[in-house]
Amino acid sequence: MPLRIKVRNAESGATVEMELEGENTIDDIIEGAAGYWEKDAGAYVLRRGRRLLRGQQTVAEAGILNNDELELIPDPEGG
């Protein structure tokens, strides 16, 4: 059964709802959210609570639950 989650944009505070299957990956969520907000082709990370999620992990492996709220954070590259 698909899960429904919310992803928050750390830069704007906006949120988007997303429907996921257990085999979807964190990379899929990042790609979907960054695409929805038409983000620049930069690096992003996704957090759940106090933990950053690994890109290759599946939704099931990452322990994501129905109604979870995740946050998309830009990962600064400059120096």
Partner: protein, 268 residues
Amino acid sequence: MSALIKVGAIDDDRFDRSRRIGWLDMERIQSARCFVAGAGALGNEVIKNLVLSGVKSIMLVDMDYVVRSNLNRCVFFREEDASRKSMKTDIIAKRVKELNSEIRITPINSRIEEIDLGCLKDYDVVFGCFDNIGARLHLNAHAYYYGVPYIDGGTDGITGKIQVVLPPDTPCLQCATNKTHMKILEKRFSCTGADISIYEPKIPAEITTTSIIAAIQVREGLKIISGKKENCIRHVCYYNGLLNTFDSFEVSLDPMCPVHLSSYFKSF
């Protein structure tokens, strides 16, 4: 016989006020060896903070020369350096003597990928002050392999981050990457026929965010040198300059991360 004290002698000691901070181990700090990669905005601030904190021995690596657009955020660079296209590392090594004449900075004018990083084992802390993910991952892998703490900084406009990597206990930079990082790497080294073109985007940058991120990088380094590893950021800290908020997050160790696999196989 009673002790003789000299009135005002306290102010003759450059580090008197630092010594009053209980957890700073000034003896270790003054004998520490630090490796700084990148002599741009973060590199300038990291060097300034290390030197003012008492570190005397630093290796500094960068392959670039000074340009005018560096002058909004680099404390050691001057207009004449940009006119002369002086190498960043040489200028910092020279100007840092104005802060403390005892400092020994070894400037290396090279890309980080082109030097033998076996020397890392002789350093106490490695600071990453790069403007690209490829160089970060390269140095992260080598520092982990040689078991040297690596403190990475990054900025973009008024946001920034600091990641502290303490081998063999913590995850590394590579563990925290995903497809978006790999896409940037692919874009940076895109092949066009026989040539490899390097795509270098101009990333927004200014001094206030740079100085905050570099200050935290150095503070984490001073904790490590002073034997206070347990008080370091665990594992990555993001700074939002618009709201002035800091958030620390844990990264889980990726069992397939090549950095840990190579460090593991080193023991055989």
